[in-house]
């Protein structure tokens, strides 16, 4: 079965992750720092601009931003890089047999590793801005894995589609840009009038649940809503099963598309 094949090719998974994590910045002066600079710049821009736009920004707005933007960047990069991974590896796919699922899987795993490294920055912000940290940090890996699963599911699905319909990558990037506003990443849910339509829509968004959980763990030092997390986990699991099934169907034609 497929899991057996992935196990057989585990060295390939390992080397792919190694190439993604270390290879991306080998030879550049700032090295791995580049994976943080982008989200940090975003934090900077929003932290400066939004308090003026929003009048009455959240307490500890900068920490609020960081605990939202960095997890979102993790999700966004995994989905957007996975979408193009089949196309970018066209030459290898045409010439060698290996279980193709390794490609989006390695992107998710390397994204997870990059995220854990950036969590150091989040913790640093918590400490610097006086929010402090607590044992609740222990929940972060759990939330990250669930978030990673949903990113993997979407990334895998889109990668298969992008092999056939090549503007998928533009559509995905556009949706991701818009989607950032669909969850309380840079704003608080309270900016919407309570019991309004839009508040409930945003609230239902699984990404909202995930963001809330991260904030509970990093900022508010509370145990995250386990029921909500459980729901998101189940949803992600179902998405993964679907995405992998579709991917397997579509992968037979990959080599002929390029």
């Amino acid at each position: 079965m497929m899991l057996r094949e992935i196990y057989n090719y585990r060295e390939l998974l390992k080397t792919s992750v190694k190439k993604d994590v270390r290879g991306r910045y080998k030879g550049s002066v700032l090295g791995v720092l580049w994976s943080f600079i982008n989200p940090l710049l975003q934090v900077l821009v929003y932290a400066i601009v939004f308090p003026y736009l929003m009048k009455g920004a959240a307490d500890h707005y900068v920490v609020y931003l960081v605990t939202g933007i960095i997890p979102w960047t993790f999700f966004q990069t995994v989905v957007s890089q996975s979408t193009i991974c089949i196309k970018s590896n066209a030459s290898v796919i045409k010439k060698v047999y290996f279980p193709r699922i390794v490609l989006p899987l390695s992107i998710c795993i390397s994204g997870l590793i990059n995220f854990f490294i950036s969590c150091v920055i989040v913790v640093a912000f918590c400490l610097i801005f006086g929010v402090g940290i607590s044992w609740h940090l222990v929940f972060v890996p759990l939330i990250a894995v669930i978030e990673g699963m949903s990113a993997f599911a979407l990334g895998t699905f889109f990668s298969a589609v992008d092999a056939y319909i090549q503007d998928m990558e533009h559509i995905v990037n556009f949706i991701l840009t818009m989607a950032m506003y669909g969850a309380p990443i840079i704003y608080e849910l309270t900016i919407f009038p309570t019991h309004s339509k839009i508040a409930s829509i945003v609230d239902i968004n699984p990404m909202t649940k995930i963001m809330n959980s991260y904030r509970d763990a990093f900022m508010y030092h509370r145990i995250p809503d386990m029921a909500a997390l459980g729901g998101v986990f189940l949803l992600s699991l179902v998405m993964c099963i679907f995405a992998v099934a579709i991917f397997n169907r579509m992968q037979k034609g990959f080599a002929e598309q390029f």
Binding site: T15, K19, M168, A255, E256
Partner: protein
Amino acid sequence: MNADNAIEVRNLTKEFKVSRDGAKTLKEFLVRRHTRSEKHVVLSDISLDIRKGETVGLIGVNGSGKSTLLKLMTKIIYPTKGTVETNGRVTSLLELGAGFHPDFTGRENIYFNASIFGMTKKQIDGRLDDIIAFSELGPAIDDPIRTYSSGMYMRLAFSVAINVDADILLIDEILAVGDAHFQKKCFDKLEELKRSGTTIVIVSHALDQVKSLCTRCVWIYRGQLRLDGDPTYVIEAYKKQSAIDHKEERKAAIANGTADYKGVVFIDAPRSLTVVNKGESLPLIGWKIADSDEYDFTITANGEKVSGIKEVPRPDVIDIYKDEYAGYIEGTKPGFEAFYIPEAEGELDIRAFITIDGRDIAEKSVTVTVE
């Protein structure tokens, strides 16, 4: 599937859709009128068994479908009809250096490349020394491969490819690159693999190597299995057919004006700018070849046609041009011999030329002085 077989192919057909401007964007998919797509049949109803431990050479001209057959055996692409079954770990070497990353060292890239072939870390560790030794790269193995010359890159990629663990090894023409020393090393290694019982299928245009390495040769001609058997026999038949096809293609190209006949004329004697005597019989000796079964050959002396031209055997010429003029030169007498008696003193212009369809396609002239 028969337990003695490594690969079983049954009624395999592979078609490719060749569509002009295939729908690649969403817009085109949604607005799709029936884009004219032609079906190109690359392989047609192929059936064959390859037993464990056999070494099979797969030959055919470019475009005959051999590489496609290899890809179907590896499950990189899937059949349109029919089945391919394999028994054992299949490793295909269709390209060198798959998975290489320029910023990592040769040593690290060995792991990248070998892992794409499905090897585990333990297996790679076991082979690492052999691979590094085979590559003859020395200490450069720990430099990033972006600093390598193209020769070093090839050697590294070769060494990994040839040292890969496999029950069934499918190789597509990658052994055609590399210098003679390295090619010899590779073929020695293949002999070693052969002896250890690995099933090998190799696509190659190096027919001599196919003859010496393979116990069986399969010829794919225009997508169909044409001959399957002893390499010497199959290769001869393949060469004959290729010569015939080549002739047909040339004829067609000449007929529609995209190509023209070619030929060579050479005059051994007399040498240009020598002196000859008036009234003495002057031998005109040389040779002529052309890529046509029929042509007109004429020698003129100061514009006057020379008669009595005899055809003479010239095995040396046939030997030199036997490949280039295959199909036209075998069994002919390319040499010519004629005699001319110069009557007048002064410059004598001797011109020998080949004419086909009213066009002079090759010529040679010498000028001598008559005293």
